[in-house]
């Protein structure tokens, strides 16, 4: 599986993470950790005037390749998205963003989802 897992897209995100910066004027920020492997991310969000659309995303964190690459891709994906649209994002969306051909191993699900969990917590969206 890992030959498929560590594809160019993941390695590229690791090398050049997108939006990896703290937003000092963020409307909301949430820190999330994955106790099973020590991954951690902090997500910073800003909204447009309506308050219904995410206008800017920043994040900081450290951890495994899956958690960091997924957070990087997610930060780009949700920039400009409606909060209601973000609520419907799930594991399959992240797998597809990472270019995975099959569902991720059980042991890596938390790594994959940590960024999305932080975003949903920040948006007060019920976690899946």
């Amino acid at each position: 599986m890992s030959q498929d897992l560590y594809q160019a897209v993941i390695l590229e995100e690791l090398q050049h993470p997108q939006n990896k910066r703290e937003l000092s004027d963020a409307a909301v920020s949430v820190h999330e950790t994955n106790s099973s492997c020590g991954d951690d991310v902090t997500v910073f969000l800003k909204f447009d005037a309506t308050g219904e659309r995410v206008s800017e995303v920043g994040w900081q964190g450290s951890g495994c390749a899956i958690s960091q690459a997924a957070m990087s891709l997610l930060s780009e994906k949700i920039t400009g998205m409606l909060v209601s649209e973000i609520g419907s994002l799930g594991q399959a969306d992240l797998e597809s963003m990472l270019g995975l051909q099959q569902p991720i191993a059980y042991g890596r699900v938390k790594c994959l989802l940590i960024g999305l969990q932080a975003v949903k917590k920040a948006l007060n969206i019920n976690l899946i």
Binding site: L11, S35, S36, G38
Partner: protein, 442 residues
């Protein structure tokens, strides 16, 4: 010594391939694989003897009761304990919780002290934190030194400072994260010197989950009060383990049952209940997992046939070989005790070079596993790449978050052994580790 190829052939699961590669199973500290003898013993029980124990007068019930009692005796004998001292539970975690509910809750009050260490598995920390909440006792942690060895001086200082207020010392015999074996005999000797009267001496509980699979054990010689172990880490089935309790604690009711119901009683009336006089039955409420006990007994027989001293020596060869091989990879930092082992490896290499047969190496204080950190690549990613080469290892904090916090490690990779592992397995691991550098460019 023993023939590893022959041993490996006893484990059906090991003949498979993973990711198209020969399976190299090096996650034995999490759970071991099971020999055919264990699998067949369980099947045989269900095919020939299944019935409830101690309840029926019919022949099958008698056969099942025999299987249960004989298995209990075999398991107790493996640990040189009296069958009456053995309480069969699900695993070490349940055994340690049993000490908390069955002993600590009845014997600790506010102001008492429990001592444990930062190196413990969460199963040897969380139950004591809960006891503290229920009783008002306090929990003190002994640290480890830079090499990952228990700071025994800290322990002795705590004992001298708090004296009779210390009621329980709970320690792992062998660390599941670092492989460190603590100097248990020295600690018990010191305990006797500090507390000459047995009545005031703190009780000592040993988490033996990682010791039971690898070293010869004699519960009475160890002179401890509680010993917890898991069957599934010592070639037995999942779902059965044990708590061995010093008989005196059972006879005096210092240790009490913590689960109640049928089987553990002598008489039940609407006005109240009298517990079973038979110590073992008093701690076995409900229908026990007879098949798993039968399987664990078969595992004990299997290990005894190999000889636990041979098992330990085999483990030591693998541990030392692995440390020597890992030390040659610049990105890898082995964590836990290595210094005396390096000296031993050097001596062996010397002997190899001189063409003489290497002599038997002395046993070190690192048993069962070798853990490491790969510079710049997270442990989970290392483990995932190793899996693609057929090598199964464990990554993460191994249920030892306080230890990882102490050293500032986010996660580590653990390679752990069993009787069927070979130096060729380690070679496949080392080869697979080279792929980590290729994938991540580090």
């Amino acid at each position: 010594m023993f023939d590893v190829a022959k041993i490996k052939a006893d484990f059906p699961i090991l003949s498979q391939t993973v990711q198209g590669k020969r399976l190299v199973y090096l996650d034995n500290a999490a759970t071991s694989q099971k020999p055919r003898a264990v699998i067949e013993a369980i099947t045989h029980y269900y095919e020939t003897s299944n019935a409830n124990v101690h309840r029926g007068v019919h022949s099958l019930s008698d056969a099942s009761t025999h299987a249960w009692e004989e298995s209990r005796a075999q398991i107790a004998q493996f640990f040189c304990a009296d069958p009456a001292e053995l309480i069969l539970v699900r695993n070490s975690t349940e055994a340690l919780n049993g000490i908390a509910y069955g002993w600590a809750d009845h014997n600790l009050t506010a102001g008492d002290i429990i001592i444990t260490s930062v190196m413990e598995h969460h199963a040897d920390i969380v139950p004591w934190q809960q006891v503290v909440e229920r009783t008002g006792a306090q929990l003190a942690f002994v640290g480890v030194d830079a090499a990952g060895r228990l700071q025994t001086t800290e322990l002795y200082n705590l004992l001298e400072k708090h004296g009779e207020k210390v009621k329980l010392i709970a320690l792992t015999y062998i660390s599941n994260a670092l492989g460190t074996q603590i100097p248990l005999t020295e600690i018990v000797t010191k305990l006797h010197a500090l507390y000459p009267a047995a009545t005031t001496r703190p009780r000592i509980a040993i988490d033996g989950a990682q010791a039971a699979p690898h070293i010869p054990l004699d519960f009475h010689k160890l002179d401890i009060d509680f010993f917890a172990f898991s069957g599934h880490k010592m070639l037995g089935p999942m779902g059965v383990g044990g708590l061995i309790v010093r008989k005196k604690l059972l006879e005096t009711n210092e240790m009490q049952p913590w689960l109640f119901g049928g089987g553990m009683i002598a008489e039940v009336h609407t006005a109240g209940t009298k517990f079973n006089e038979d110590i073992a039955e008093r701690f076995t409420p409900g229908t026990p997992d007879v098949a798993s006990a039968v399987g664990l007994a078969a595992a004990c027989r299997y290990l005894q046939n190999l000889g636990m001293q041979n098992v330990l020596e085999h483990d030591q060869q693998l541990v030392q070989y692995t440390i020597a091989q890992l030390s040659q990879i610049p990105q890898v930092k082995v964590i836990g005790p290595i210094s005396p082992i390096s000296a031993q490896v050097a001596r062996q290499q010397q002997e190899d070079e001189s063409g003489e047969t290497p002599q038997q190496l002395p046993v070190s204080d690192r048993v069962g596993s070798v853990s490491f950190i790969y510079d710049g690549v997270h442990a989970h990613d290392v483990a995932q790449v190793l899996d693609s080469e057929g090598v199964a290892v464990r990554s993460g904090h191994h249920c030892t978050m306080p230890l990882h916090e102490t050293f500032g490690w986010q996660a580590s990779v653990r390679v752990s052994f069993q009787v069927y592992n070979t130096t060729e397995d380690v070679d496949q691991l080392i080869l697979a580790l080279k792929k980590v550098a290729q994938v991540f460019g580090k």
